[in-house]
């Protein structure tokens, strides 16, 4: 399986989603997905909150290991909202690492059918309950839906590249001189 996502397609898709007031949630499967998103923002093709999933499924996407995750987190700007996502029995340990790191989590039967000892299937609700239990152990409160909307800045778009970079904690675009690829015309 291949995820078809060429430059011409994703640029147009982001334009249409933004025009319809729908937030683009970027599914990044490795560091260069993120780098492409950064270029889209520096070139003004996406002007909104940077909300991303790190999708570590292997098979052409990042392997679910802490080096890939740490490298991704280091690259992400301070204003980004990052959710960790992996597959099958990697889901629970990756989510626990995510909770401990202050990131956000994803679960459900799309990601994993099994409990951690693979003795039984585990429903989506049971998976959520497990993460709630664990997050409470960490002392990390669970966001209400309203708080989650604020965290993800649902409905927020920015008017300019500069505002978008600033709000997401990116360094501004370089002024003057040869701006190189950063400001390449779309």
């Amino acid at each position: 399986m291949i995820v078809p996502s060429n430059p011409s397609w994703y640029e147009e898709h982001i334009r249409r989603l933004s025009a319809a007031g729908i937030q683009s949630a970027f599914q990044c499967y490795n560091i260069n997905s993120f780098e492409t998103v950064e270029r889209l923002m520096r070139r003004g093709i996406y002007k909104g909150p940077l909300v991303m999933n790190w999708v570590a499924l292997g098979g052409g996407m990042d392997q679910a290991n802490i080096y890939n995750l740490a490298n991704f987190v280091r690259a992400a700007p301070d204003g980004a909202v990052l959710t960790v996502e992996s597959s099958l029995r990697n889901v629970l340990p990756v989510n626990m690492i995510g909770i401990a790191m202050g990131l956000h989590v994803r679960c459900g039967t799309e990601d994993c059918l099994w409990n951690q000892s693979r003795t039984a299937k585990m429903s989506s609700v049971a998976q959520i309950e497990q993460l709630v239990r664990l997050s409470q152990e960490f002392g990390r409160p669970i966001a209400t839906a309203r708080q989650a909307r604020e965290i993800s800045k649902i409905g927020v778009f920015y008017d300019t590249v500069e505002e978008s970079l600033h709000a997401n904690g990116f360094a501004p675009n370089r002024n003057g001189g040869n701006q190189g690829f950063l400001l390449k015309a779309a």
Partner: protein, 354 residues
């Protein structure tokens, strides 16, 4: 790879292997007529000139005399034989990418790839090359992403159809093709040279080795050209080098004016380099630079660092050309990778020094 306290010192590093890519299949001959060979003799002479300047690996593509990329296996065979006759020790590395340009006359066809079956024919080249490059995992390869107007504006890539085709280009390298291609190359005694675009590619190569689908030396090129591949950011290639097995070789490759700084960092880190007009037409000042000038520049900087340049025979040892292994276990051990876990084994299997 581990870095020890003395790893930045030249006497602890392998001698430098310089790969040159002097045929530039993405360019039109008019983009650099002084340095783009057309006739077979010019192709061969270019290889000899690069060898004499210090390059020991020739990344090979072929052009027809009308300037288009050749799709004829016979032309590849002719060039390989011609280079072998003149510089027999030079490592011949056939570019597995768009080596065979398509039959189609449609605009932008230059950036389209041939069918899997045709690409497998690289295993049937005669005489056999030392290496064929192989991509692992199907990936967006937007070579225009990091090119500025100054880079492509005065070249054939400014043609809108061609620009779009190269912007949307995808490297087809799915699991079925990769596994079959590795089987055919190794059956022909040709070493695959892995062209990797990001960490997931390296992880896939490791899985191929652990599953016994490739049993040979790991020569890895990190290709940091953005546009779906890693960008030329030191964090990316340091992470790649950190994760590359101790027994592998790593060559850094990027494009346009990123080439020199990335190559200099590679040389400092004990890794290997690639240059030539396929990667950049320009030097750091925006002037055209031939492939031979690119090699000469690398040699100058290497001398400043005290890093010796490998002879072609030494480069063959460093790359372990012609070597294959008999088992998964031997492959893992020779490449410095931790052994496969035995059924029921807990924690990491311990790796013993060779």
């Amino acid at each position: 790879m581990q870095f020890l306290d003395d790893s930045l010192l030249p006497e602890t590093q392998e001698k430098l292997v310089i790969t040159v890519a002097p045929y530039g299949p993405e360019w039109h001959p008019d983009d650099f007529p002084e340095d783009i060979p057309l006739t077979m003799e010019e192709h061969i002479q270019k290889a000899v000139d690069c060898y004499n300047a210090g390059a020991t690996v020739l990344h090979l593509h072929v052009r027809e005399e009308d300037g288009t990329g050749s799709k004829h296996l016979s032309k590849f065979n002719e060039l390989i034989a011609g280079v072998r006759a003149r510089v027999p020790d030079m490592i011949i590395q056939v570019g597995g990418s768009i080596s065979f340009s398509p039959e189609s006359e449609e605009e932008g066809a230059e950036a389209k790839w041939l069918s899997d079956e045709v690409r497998h024919m690289l295993a049937d080249l005669k005489p056999a090359p030392d290496q064929v490059t192989i991509a692992v995992n199907t990936t967006q390869m937007n070579i225009m992403d990091l090119m500025s107007d100054a880079d492509y504006g005065a070249t054939s890539l400014a043609n809108p159809a061609l620009y779009q085709a190269y912007r949307e280009m995808v490297v087809p390298a799915g699991p079925h093709w990769v596994e079959e291609h590795l089987r055919r190359l190794t059956a022909s005694g040709i070493q695959p040279h892995f062209q990797l675009t990001c960490m997931p590619d390296l992880e896939t190569v490791e899985r191929l080795v652990r599953r016994g689908l490739y049993k040979g030396p790991l020569n890895l090129t990190w290709v940091g050209i953005g546009g779906g591949f890693d960008g030329p950011n030191p964090n990316n290639f340091m992470e790649f080098i950190r994760r590359a097995p101790d027994g592998s070789t790593v060559t850094l490759e990027t494009l346009m004016r990123h080439v020199l700084p990335v190559n200099v960092m590679a040389m400092c880190l004990g890794q290997h380099v690639r240059c030539g007009i396929e990667d950049t037409l320009y030097d750091q000042h925006g002037d055209k630079m031939t492939s031979v000038q690119g090699i000469e520049q690398i040699v100058r900087v290497a001398r400043e660092l005290g890093r010796e340049i490998a002879t072609a025979k030494e480069a063959r040892d460093i790359y372990r050309i012609g070597v294959q292994y008999n088992s998964v276990e031997e492959t893992l051990a020779r490449n410095g990778m931790t052994p496969n876990r035995q059924p029921g084994q807990r924690a990491l299997p311990v790796r013993y020094a060779a």
